[in-house]
């Protein structure tokens, strides 16, 4: 089909009007000319796509190959033992002839899981509530401005969140939750100054909640109107319709949003580096609720905070090991997101029939 108003069509129309050439010839020539041009564009786009996927594989290969020496030297103890900061200093100071390959990243890996889980625990219920309000309950006049605000929040650079966390959240925790006695009591374990796992969870949840709200609201707004109407027309209240009909139908989209939010939380470095104290301390549940007040550090923050160690081969390899853990975690999450999104399509397709 020749699209309306395309150059080819205009050309044909012009020549027909002028009555100079038989129309079929013009059509064939212009079709050939266009097909050469379009084939060129298609090939170029194909090449870009191939190039970018190759690039991703190269990055994975590069990161993991750099990490292998450290992973080989430490085996499972890289994952299951602590002492990162001490190991890092040892490796940094080791004489060139006898490099130190001993690293234990347990506090970093656990810290990443704690902050991510904590942030999701705060952000998901809160975000889902906001998404429901935005799509279903919000007065029409407020909806647009609120939605734009949420999308704007999703675009704020993470260092700003870190700054707000450092200036507001950390002092608040220090003043409200940490007494001098508590700090003294814990002095042999770690310094309690407000920079903490809790601050990390709060700041991280603020960072991921906007993107989750936006995606969950999209998923809810995409629920076919016919389901909502059918439920309301049965005499089911609006709220029960949301809970029993709309949320289940939107479930996969909401899940995909949660997974993307988790991906962002796992990879977040700078804001967490600012508010968690940047110590490779493993918060311990044995300390009770003080668990949340202990300083810690995540894998991603470690890569930033220890980046100056890159000049030493052992330290470099250790940081690449951190990076490869992050990379694998993110790939797994993105596969899950893909599965969830596939679920939406299947459902939508079936519902259309």
């Amino acid at each position: 089909m020749v699209p309306e108003g395309s150059p080819a069509q205009t050309a044909v129309a012009g020549k027909l009007a002028a009555g100079k050439e038989p129309a079929f010839q013009t059509v064939v020539v212009s079709a050939r000319r266009r097909s050469i041009k379009e084939a060129g564009i298609e090939k170029a786009l194909f090449a870009f796509t191939i190039l970018s996927s190759i690039l991703i594989f190269l990055i994975m290969f590069f990161v993991i190959s750099k990490a292998i020496p450290v992973l080989q030297a430490n085996g499972f103890s890289f994952v299951f033992s602590g002492g990162w900061d001490e190991h890092f200093v040892n490796a940094w100071l080791a004489p060139a002839g006898e490099p130190s390959w001993r690293f234990g990243a347990l506090p970093l890996i656990a810290g990443t899981l704690y902050t991510t889980a904590g942030a999701l625990l705060i952000a998901l219920p809160f975000g889902l509530g906001c998404a429901i309000f935005l799509t279903e309950l919000c007065p029409a006049r407020l909806r647009k401005p609120l939605e734009s605000t949420v999308r704007l929040l999703a675009a704020i650079p993470s260092v700003i969140y870190g700054l707000v966390g450092l200036l507001v959240v950390v002092p608040l925790i220090a003043d409200q939750l940490i007494s001098n006695e508590l700090a003294l009591q814990m002095i042999n374990v770690c310094a309690l100054d407000g920079t903490s796992l809790l601050a990390g969870m709060i700041v991280l949840s603020m960072m991921i909640v906007p993107i989750f709200i936006a995606l969950a609201a999209d998923a809810l707004a995409a629920v076919p109107r016919r389901y909502k109407e059918a439920s309301l027309a049965l005499g089911v209240s609006h709220w029960r319709t949301i809970v029993k009909v709309m949320l289940p139908v939107a479930r996969n989209g909401i899940l995909a949003g949660a997974i993307l939010a988790a991906g962002r939380a796992i990879g977040e470095a700078i804001a967490l580096s600012m508010v968690t104290g940047s110590v490779a301390n493993l918060p311990s549940v044995r300390h009770g609720l003080v668990f949340f007040l202990e300083p810690m550090r995540t894998l991603a923050s470690t890569i930033i905070d220890n980046a100056e160690g890159m000049s030493v081969a052992t330290c470099e390899a250790a940081l690449f090991a951190c990076a490869s853990f992050l990379l694998v975690a993110c790939i797994i999450l993105s596969l899950f997101a893909r599965l969830a999104a596939g679920g939406i399509q299947r459902k939508g397709g079936a519902a259309g029939g």
Binding site: A230, L234, G235, V236, K244
Partner: protein
């Protein structure tokens, strides 16, 4: 709590049976707008109990909007406005204190395109019942579901696949599933908005047969594009044009001897 709003007056109305002068719903002088756009203009019409009222008219004449006024489904459209009164068993359903949820429970609706929920056949029918009575016993629920599917003439076709998705049924079966879903919550009035427009002739015939059975126990209002259908099933017929109810009366009367020229032209197929 749901029992507030509409109660009392309507309770004994079901006993009146086939008295043609008895109206289940009384529409008095309603006009409505979407934003500034007028849709219905001064429409008044009785809807008689235990009979089928057909609503016909060309596209955009307001007949679907009218139907959606009867269960207040237009409330979903923010810019919708309505003037005039609609009473169900003598009670104003647009009264500020009226319980819209209860209105919709009493006035069920079947839509133009079959819209079963993406759940099993059983859950589709059980959904409304469970919502209205969350403590319902499993046994009792099953009875209601089976009975509703039987009333909707669907039971024989789905009895072996109650756990299959409602979306796996054919279009005609889906529409009867939607009817069963409405019947399960025991409404008094059933509104149908062009229920056969997306169905083949065999499925259409089944739905028409079903409607003729249903009018023995329910008050039925059908919007239809199909004049043959209107003729076959309606007891009363309303003809809408440009938001006005041009003609209303006993179906046979309207069809054989229309008072208005516009009705005659429409019935003759001169426009539509």
């Amino acid at each position: 709590m749901q029992q507030t709003g509409i109660t009392g007056a309507g309770r004994n109305a079901t006993g009146i049976g086939n008295n043609p002068n008895n109206s289940k719903i009384m529409v008095q002088d309603i006009s409505s707008w979407y934003g500034a756009q007028p849709v219905l203009k001064e429409v008044s019409m009785p809807i008689h109990a235990k009979s089928i009222t057909g609503l016909i008219g060309p596209s955009g004449c307001g007949k679907s909007t009218f139907l959606r006024c009867l269960n207040r489904l237009n409330d979903l459209v923010r810019s919708f406005r309505l003037q005039g009164t609609i009473t169900l068993d003598g009670e104003d359903i647009y009264h500020p204190d009226a319980d819209v949820v209860l209105v919709r429970r009493k006035v069920g609706m079947v839509f133009q395109h079959p819209n079963p929920f993406p759940m099993s056949v059983f859950d589709n029918v059980a959904f409304g019942v469970r919502e209205h009575n969350r403590q319902i016993k499993k046994r009792e629920l099953e009875e209601i579901v089976v009975e509703s599917l039987q009333k909707a003439n669907l039971w024989e076709e789905v009895k072996d696949k109650l756990q299959a998705s409602g979306l796996s049924l054919s279009g005609g079966q889906q529409q009867r599933l939607c009817i069963a879903r409405v019947l399960a919550v025991m409404p008094e009035v059933i509104l149908l908005d062009e229920p056969c427009s997306s169905l083949d002739p065999v499925s259409t015939a089944k739905i028409e047969e079903l409607l003729l059975q249903l009018k023995n126990s329910y008050t039925v209002v059908v919007v239809t594009h199909n004049l043959g259908q209107a003729r076959r099933i309606s007891d009363y017929l309303g003809f809408f044009l440009d938001g006005r109810l041009v003609e209303y009366g006993a179906a046979a009367e309207v069809i054989t001897n229309p008072r208005e020229k516009a009705t005659e032209d429409y019935l003759a197929g001169n426009f539509g």
